[in-house]
Symmetry: C2
Subunit: 211 residues, 2 copies
């Protein structure tokens, strides 16, 4: 292709110069992916915004997309009777989806809510399956990402079983310090499986010990 030929140059631009999707940058940070896979993802990924408190996903519906968080924080929660149980809290550079619903394309048991204004990049389930089938390296990316998320889920299951409320909160401070000043305490308390009163008591005790 000669860049001296403006028509050819424009055609080339329109075919390949789609801006790189944040999803592609994210995948490339895990494992190198082919130009074809990048072009496909750049074409299929889309931007999605949510206002604070808006729902990304409601229990009972099928989760048809996976999202990368570019900006903001979201939480996953399930109902236990009338009570809400926050099961995860996620911020920038993390993936968000209702995993069982997305993988199996069945109705979700959990809800996903923005707890700050959010900017997300989305990819449809069918487009991800297409990529798994046509670009072998996407399976390496998927496998590596799942290894990390599986380790995190195991960690969450372990922390939830700790009986000592102070141990749970200390663990949260160490591993999620970046969320401490951004997430309302009621969600942190629910995530840690304790009442807001217990969490406030622990925080005040720890802060006294520091002084």
């Amino acid at each position: 292709m000669s860049l001296n030929n403006p028509t050819a140059g424009e055609q080339w631009l329109s075919k390949t110069a789609l801006p790189e999707s944040p999803f592609v940058s994210f995948a490339k940070s895990v494992y190198p992916i082919s130009a074809e896979a990048q072009a496909y993802a750049n074409e299929k990924c889309f931007s999605h915004r949510l206002r604070k408190n808006e729902m990304l996903m409601v229990a009972g519906t099928i989760c048809s997309h996976i999202f990368l968080v570019r900006k903001g924080i979201l939480r996953g929660y399930a109902k236990d009777g009338v009570k809400e149980i926050t099961t995860w809290i996620t911020c920038e550079r993390e993936l968000v989806s209702s995993i069982t619903s997305f993988d199996l394309q069945i109705p979700a048991t959990e809800n996903i809510q923005a707890i700050e204004d959010c900017e997300l990049t989305g990819l449809h389930y069918n487009d991800l399956q297409y990529m798994y089938e046509h670009f072998p390296e996407i399976n390496i990316v998927g496998r590596k990402i799942l290894e990390k998320y599986y380790r995190d889920a195991e960690e969450r299951a372990y922390i939830a079983r700790l009986t000592e409320a102070t141990s749970k909160y200390k663990h949260f401070i160490v591993t999620k310090s970046h969320l401490l000043n951004r997430v309302p305490l009621k969600y942190i308390a629910s995530y840690l499986g304790m009442t807001l009163e217990t969490l406030s008591r622990i925080r005040s005790k720890l802060s006294q010990n520091k002084q």
Copy 2:
């Protein structure tokens, strides 16, 4: 190669007629894998037996193998002070490993113990990495297995957060009924995050309601 030449025939047998490893059958039930990948796994997988109560893995050591359970039950547990917290219970046709230690090749924080006599098939970390690098379809197998295990870990994290002990036990009966008569109650109680006394009380109440 002519089968009329007995030497060539024997050589062929010794190279390819290794019995199919249970690991290979397991992988094939997830996604088709090449003859080369099968031959490699058949050569590298090995059998391992454990007596009831014997340890497969001790916290502080690096988990160098992943195992498929052919027979028996194992549990993963971590220490919370002097208390043992059972984080998972696994039986036949499931994989066993200390996932964070295995993935990152760092010392484990959990222990793995046989709670029945066990027969396992093992594969070394290096051999699995070799397969990921040389047989692209193994990444599809790995990705699909991880999707399932990630869903299960999310489920465990959710169950551990349920506040109602009876709900937790009812959920266990529905999802793990095959373990009910094989696993000592003290481990089920620990897995469900309740005391043995609470579990016994719930069981006796549910059994009275049935009559």
